[in-house]
């Protein structure tokens, strides 16, 4: 996890040096969907990143870091397993998540579909890599008791629509919506989510 943070910070500094740099801070509402949304509540978080300007080209590149602390929707999820043999038996159990924290680094590009002097509307795509710190337990009566505490790596993608308005030479406002999907290794899952956020861009 530390290595990831240092690497991201390193690229951020490089980026600030070599380009017409913009850093942004974006607050957003992260809303898990599908099975991910069944297990975890929506949450708020912030994303800090570097992003290029739309200059002559319609395309710009950027990367960002974000941390998500997910909260389960129930203390215990009633799960079950089916044991076959001399007839079927439905074995009740429960699953608990005591920690599900994610750090995500996103790296990608935006394409301006509307480009005015101060206003931009764009579509974007990112590759996401990161890690999760997860504590959970599965307990199914007469069958299994699992307790896991550790980390898992994650990888996925993110798709975006957004707008940006330049307030001054140094400041811009941005608003965007993302749809993301990532595969996490433990517990193995494909997680989908939407997020909606507003941000400020500072231009050096």
């Amino acid at each position: 996890m530390k290595r990831l943070l240092f690497t991201a910070a390193f690229f951020l500094l490089i980026g600030l040096k070599i380009c017409h740099a913009q850093i942004f801070l974006r607050a957003y509402n992260y809303r898990p969907t599908g099975n991910f949304g069944f297990v975890f509540k929506p949450t708020f978080s912030a994303e800090l990143g570097y992003i290029q300007e739309f200059e002559d080209d319609r395309i710009r590149f950027g990367f960002s870091l974000s941390f998500l602390k997910m909260t389960p929707r129930q203390d215990a999820f009633p799960i079950y397993a089916v044991q076959s043999g001399n007839g079927n038996f439905v074995l009740p159990g429960e699953q608990r998540f005591t920690k599900y924290n994610l750090i995500q680094a996103a790296c990608g590009m935006d394409i301006a579909i509307i480009k005015r002097k101060k206003f931009f509307a764009y579509l974007g795509v990112d590759v996401i890599i990161g890690a999760g710190a997860v504590d959970y337990s599965d307990n199914i009566q007469t069958l299994e008791e699992i307790e896991y505490s550790g980390g898992g790596i994650l990888g996925g993608g993110r798709f975006r629509v957004g707008v940006q308005y330049d307030l001054s030479d140094h400041f811009s406002l941005m608003a965007n919506a993302n749809r993301s999907v990532f595969l996490i290794t433990e517990p193995a899952a494909v997680n989908w989510a939407n997020d909606y956020g507003f941000g400020v861009i500072y231009r050096f």
Binding site: G37, F89, L91, P92
Partner: protein, 259 residues
């Protein structure tokens, strides 16, 4: 614009074809199930009926009942998995302790997990009293041999040994009758059986005269009413038994166990 077009296409597909929005209430993912009724049947069993009120956010995988003498039966307690038809399902439970209260709870599962239904309870489960089609004097025995009616000097309580529930009835004169029930004795109609280890719902009734052993022929009804925890009223209106290859006698008796 040509460069952007594939990008827009992929984005549109992802935004419109991926997982659905999370449901507002987490309980809406699970099935909703109710326990409708628990009815004592004529044989002393209990028929429980449940209903699927909602399958939840996925198709129903299993539904059933559990039962225990503790107030919160768990899914594994005497679990019965049922077929669901028209949103309803039912199960039959047997073998109850007369002194206990039994609790029946429905349950249902889909891919998200399981939910229990409401709990129904019944105390002192006993089948409705059964009325024999004859009226015999209590504590009487007529072996049908022409020697008239006698009384019982002693009737044992029911004892469970080696898979049969046994009663010994000793008449004031003559040899003892041995009753071997194939299942726990409760209110209901049993059927005589020459097999000394009868199946559930059957009873083997044997006795000896001299050096000869006899058993009541198979197929005759034996009427049993449970009067209390371990007290029974037993009537046999007319049960044939073979005294010899050419002589058939008819036993008639009415007694209580223990006595």
């Amino acid at each position: 614009m040509k460069k952007i077009l594939p990008f827009i296409l992929v984005l549109t597909l992802v935004l419109t074809n991926s997982c659905r929005k999370a449901l507002k209430h987490v309980d809406d993912y699970y099935p909703k199930v109710s326990s409708l009724s628990a009815v004592i049947q004529s044989d002393g069993s209990v028929l429980v009926t449940g209903q699927i009120d909602s399958e939840g956010a996925a198709k129903l995988d299993y539904a059933g009942f559990c039962c225990n003498s503790t107030p919160q039966p768990g899914m594994l307690d005497r679990q019965v998995i049922c077929d669901v038809s028209g949103g309803k399902f039912s199960a039959v439970f047997n073998s109850f302790d007369f002194d206990s209260t039994y609790y029946f709870r429905s349950w249902a599962v889909n891919k998200y997990g399981y939910k229990y239904g409401t709990i129904l309870s019944i105390s002192h489960i006993i089948a409705p009293a059964i009325t024999p089609p004859c009226s015999l004097t209590l504590n009487s025995l007529d072996m049908g041999t022409g020697f008239g009616t006698t009384t019982y000097a002693y009737v044992s309580a029911v004892s469970n040994t080696f898979g049969t529930w046994d009663i010994t009835a000793q008449p004031a004169s003559g040899s003892a009758l041995s009753f071997a029930f194939g299942s726990a004795v409760t209110t209901g109609m049993y059927t005589t059986d020459t097999n000394p280890t009868p199946s559930a719902g059957h009873v083997n009734i044997s006795f000896s005269t001299g050096f000869n052993f006899y058993a009541l022929n198979s197929g005759t009804p034996v009427y049993v009413n449970k009067l209390g925890t371990d007290t029974f009223d037993i009537t046999i209106c007319s049960a044939p038994w073979q005294f010899s290859s050419s002589v058939t006698c008819n036993l008639k008796t009415h007694f209580r166990s223990p006595n």
